[in-house]
Symmetry: D2
Subunit: 409 residues, 4 copies
């Protein structure tokens, strides 16, 4: 169980940290000033500073770091990528600058691993170059999507076409001016065995019958210019070549996609928690009340200690998950992936909440990135499966493992 | 310790509940549709439906219920007002409809108890009629305002004038189109004994030197058309008749103002928590996953039980505080007021967070009032003193009380 | 909802408090010195000082205060009894001194309400005089007794006899030298409707076939000379006159018995929590580290504040439960009784744990009553139904109530 | 950061696990039956089965595994020892069977690293052979020992003698029939600089003036035949050769001693938590209520999941601490050592408490080892510094580190 960065990653980490400090962080206010906000995503624009950052990051060799080998990716292991992803988590604009933002990373992995040559050429290559962006359409508004068997949207094979119908939401990145397609998941054959029922389909946004209904705010924030969108599919007809891997193989792909995606999210959320703790400590040492820095008052030092311990533990658990994925595969990592999906967002939420509290009212405004850090952590307790579902997975696997030990003894 | 509603309040409660159900709740979407949102408060408008609600509430005798006697108020005790305020807490638009919204209620109480005849005529009367609105300018952006002695703004007597200087923020209601004045608190005499240093001054918003800098978002929400504002005072000169009660008597007034104000906030926050729990239960019983309503899954039933117990306890503690204020005065209620300021917003925050979680992504959007309920509870953990300061008060009084018992024994 | 003590209880409370301070507390070390400890209950003796306390308490009119009217009881309401029971909770030896100790109080109530004249004469009267003690045999070692339908012990009617068989444990008071009988609950008719299957039977300990197996330690403490015992019944034959109320009416009695019993336990546990908090505060103010009393260090003041808030809320919830029982009956109090069974023991456990922590190692020894307070609270989270069962009751009733509101709207 | 067991440790772990399963666990009831209990340690006897276990463990090469190199120890790193120590933590009798029990391990390390040849010959060698046992006398009953500067006991150099005076308690192992000496820490020179004031002295228990006052119960358990003792030193005169390393060098030694000692404690406590979780899962799957195994009821699965996540994280944090000690020394590990001292005992306490709850009343008795596991975890929140002191250390180092980062930026 070796979590130490390799020499190669050590050097990468240093370069990335320097890039973050010299390029990304100073660009944050520029980016904010260039944003066009509001609920109407058709007004959204890509801030020019982001394209500049992307160009520089690519020149600096800090591009597509997430990608496991080939196709221009450095082929980092999950453990190697971890410290890089954590650093990116310190700034909301960092992941896109490095072409490492969700959900595009997951989509690139899917196309990289399961896509046809045509799909790769048409969709993967421009994604890898950062020219276009994409979404993932799985969650549905009308059912409890925590139970995947609730899925109602359909992807029906009719001759040499596949026909998409249904409503999806929480498609992250849908509002981005560069967004060109989504990967759509739908029911193809309700009679097949449970894990062969669904398909994943590349659906261009300009296909007839695709309708973007609206963007969804998170605590009143639209997260422009990416956004989270609701979209409807009404008899969207696509050639069968748009199906990934083949009809009925959606769950197979999903299982491969979600593991690393969740780990990447958690790595970034560790960075989120660290940023919050760092702001908390700075405020605690600089603000004075009752003749003392806040740090010396009441239980504030305990809050800092508790967060340090919680973040440290969450990071180690995430590293162990990455290591297990790398060395033993995704089935062996099943419980651990669910564990970090519960632990890490909760720690990040607590860190952001505590940092808000010590900043007083200022913590709730846009004068600090805390409200945004908070919202990111809060969303993550729901995205890719709510805490409750992941706890149930952990408990089930634990009970089974304990029973096995008992029976062996 | 009698918490039961009097016959009179019982009848009032019934009428208010009916008005909430038949008038206020149905008006919520109308109000939302009539709102002009965004960061620029100069664009904000009073939704016409609010003026209609106000007219009907006044006709129905559900007006100024908060006001302790005289001047058109029903003279309800704090205990009597409690169940009414809780009901109002179910809807964000309810308090204004009944002319019972903060910070106007606190300002009306101050003017009612301490204002000169002229101040009453000019400011209190239109407030009581619901024609104008007002703000309270105490918290400052540059210091830890949890320690009141940090206050830097000044209110200097010069001849027959008082001159205001300094920066204030979190002045709730400042952005409202009807807002006409704020009560400003500033340092008048740094050499006086600690509780005689500050003054409260009625400052019209159109006085020369008053500058509204901006509105402050809470989790990206501007809470329009009321808002929380930052405003600067640069050599604002007012006649001495604008000082309330006399220069140097600001703390005296503050102590009288903050007690009931905090209790009212907590009463409404109980309503907030109840609304969240009610939405949670509804969702838990109507959504199905893995073949069962969510209520039957995992720890969801425990979450409901824990919230019920926490809310019930928080309500009883609030009622005891109200009863103590009513029967034994604000000094006797000191610890209890701080206790509810810690307990109630935390319960409301937990209820809103749990309700969001069970709603999945929908809970974070504007499709449900949960994000707004959450923000209200979150702000309340900072407004009128952060949790930390109130916990310190409770501990100090407890330690003192225990020492007294010990010494007596 | 009036929780104030009546004039009569006010006077009683003062007398009881004085008796606690002048008689009970000073007797604690004498009692401890007179105890014969160890696992073998046959060695246990009633400390003579207890009989002296009982005599004085009876002379002082502080006797059988729990008893609702008649038979020498003062007929206090549950609300009236609450503050008395809380005071008794400050010392482990107090309840017996006032003849108000569990499970005898519950048994006296059962016999008082449901017993035949003969049962009253033979068992209730000596209990009321404090001459004998008794136990309650319901929980069983071989099944999850949280589910009452699991009960395996049988009480079979054969002609004019009832025959008891089975194993019971956690019969509190079984080891007491004065213990003469238990009330046994067993299955009489597995085919009857669910609430008519069980019977309660007065079973003398000297009946043939009754075997005391052992005393059960709680964290290594046998709670001598009362103890919690395991006992077996092998074909114990008793005349039908030993059945209370009639065969098949056990659940009916249990429901009446458990409500007030749980409330009494919770009232005493509030006293337990207060005693722990009082010891905590005393230590925090008298011990010095790093140049300051512990009270001033780290989060200690927050711990005190949090406990004060939690205890205050738990007490109010208990009073509301008592008031509801008094005024609206036990069915209306169902959820509240379950609520306090979850809330109060947990608060008492937290208070005792925090007090232990601040006492350092000393808190774990017998130099302070904290380990004993802790154990009492810990047991109470299991006795009369574990937390989990009560949470489930609260959630079920809440969901039902919310559904009713919704359907009405 | 490589936590993987070396090949050597892998083999050792397998052998140790087998020995635990085949020898230690089956010996537990034999050991319990051979114990002589009670408060009077002069009655305590070493259970013969323990000497048999020791002989077999030594023959199996599972002896002194804790010892870092030389002197018959295998020279395992802290990381290598970690999984072995965790396994030992599953049974209370295991550590002594492998000669790896506290406080002897710490004392052996002190003598190994700092002892004179004479001290090694006379005290270390018989300890290494498991012939004698020892104690550590640092904590004092009359002061808050969490602040080491409070220490009142003295070790005064007078000519060629050192004279010990004062009261000590919580000397673990003092009651063991084989206990021959304690390492005593006392003030030698109040005027010296703070870290040169104290001395450590080997004090034989049969020295004139040494008085064992009593054994201290933990939740009524005396932990016989080791125990925790209180002892008084009245003008105990010893030759200067009994001083370790030299007068005034006590803190220097303490710092070296406490680091690994705390890590070992935490490793064993992880084992404690795992044992509790394992018993919990077993009960949850085998007991049935309301027609289901307890595992399926209410929040029980969540409890299991939460414990699995907490234990996993605590283990990783402990491994990181061990790895840091191994590779970067004890100063670099300062914060981490304090972190695990807070985190691990708390997790173990929670695991034991949750396991007790699911066992119902049985969990509180001696029918299961849960009450003992609980007590071990509870003591550990106080031993070697209470949580509060360690949290303060973590916060202080964190604030300092954050300030350094900020200044660098």
């Amino acid at each position: 169980m070796d979590f130490a960065p390799s020499e190669r990653t050590h050097a990468l980490t240093e370069r990335l940290a320097r890039f973050m400090r010299d390029e990304v962080i100073p660009a944050e206010p520029v980016y904010a000033a260039q944003l066009v906000g509001g609920a109407d995503h058709r007004q959204w624009r890509q801030p020019p500073v982001m394209e500049q950052l992307k160009a520089r990051a690519r020149d600096a060799g800090l591009w597509n770091l997430f990608l496991p080998g080939l196709d221009g990716g450095p082929g980092l292991s999950n453990v190697e990528y971890a410290s890089l992803a954590e650093l990116m988590g310190h700034s909301f604009i960092a992941p896109e600058a490095f072409n490492c933002n969700a959900p595009d990373t997951g989509n690139m992995e899917v196309l990289h691993r399961y896509g046809s040559e045509e799909q790769k050429r048409q969709w993967l290559e421009p994604l890898l170059r950062g020219e276009i962006r994409s979404g993932f359409a799985m969650t549905e508004p009308d059912v409890a999507s925590s139970d995947a068997t609730n899925m109602r949207a359909t992807a029906t094979v009719e001759g040499d076409e596949i026909v998409l119908n249904g409503r999806k939401w929480w498609t992250t990145g849908l509002g981005h001016p560069h967004c060109r397609f989504v990967i759509f998941m739908g029911l193809s054959d309700a009679q097949a065995e449970p894990h062969r029922r669904h398909s994943m389909v590349v659906c261009p946004l300009d296909a007839a019958g695709v309708q973007i209904e609206r963007m969804l705010p998170v605590f009143h924030d639209y997260d422009e210019p990416s956004g989270h969108g609701e979209l409807h599919f009404a008899n969207v007809r696509l050639p069968l070549s748009h199906v990934i891997l083949g009809a009925g193989r959606g769950f197979e792909i999903a299982q491969g996609r979600l593991g690393p995606g969740r780990v990447h999210h958690c790595m970034r959320a560790i960075g989120t928690a660290e940023r919050a703790l760092s702001l908390l400590c700075k405020r605690a040492q600089s603000r004075v009340a009752f003749g003392q820095p806040l740090l010396k008052l009441g239980g504030n030092a305990d809050i800092i200690a508790n967060l340090r311990m919680a973040i440290e533990q969450a990071r180690l658990l995430t590293l162990k998950t990455a290591w297990t994925l790398d060395t033993r595969g995704s089935k062996a990592a099943l419980s651990l992936i669910s564990q970090i999906k519960v632990v890490v967002p909760m720690v990040a939420q607590q860190a952001a909440d505590a940092a808000i509290q010590i900043h007083g009212g200022a913590g709730l405004t846009d004068d600090f990135p805390l409200a945004q850090l908070y919202a990111y952590a809060r969303v993550l307790r729901l995205a890719d499966g709510p805490d409750e579902v992941h706890r149930a997975v952990v408990a089930k696997l634990e009970a089974k493992a304990q029973l096995a030990v008992e029976n062996r003894a």
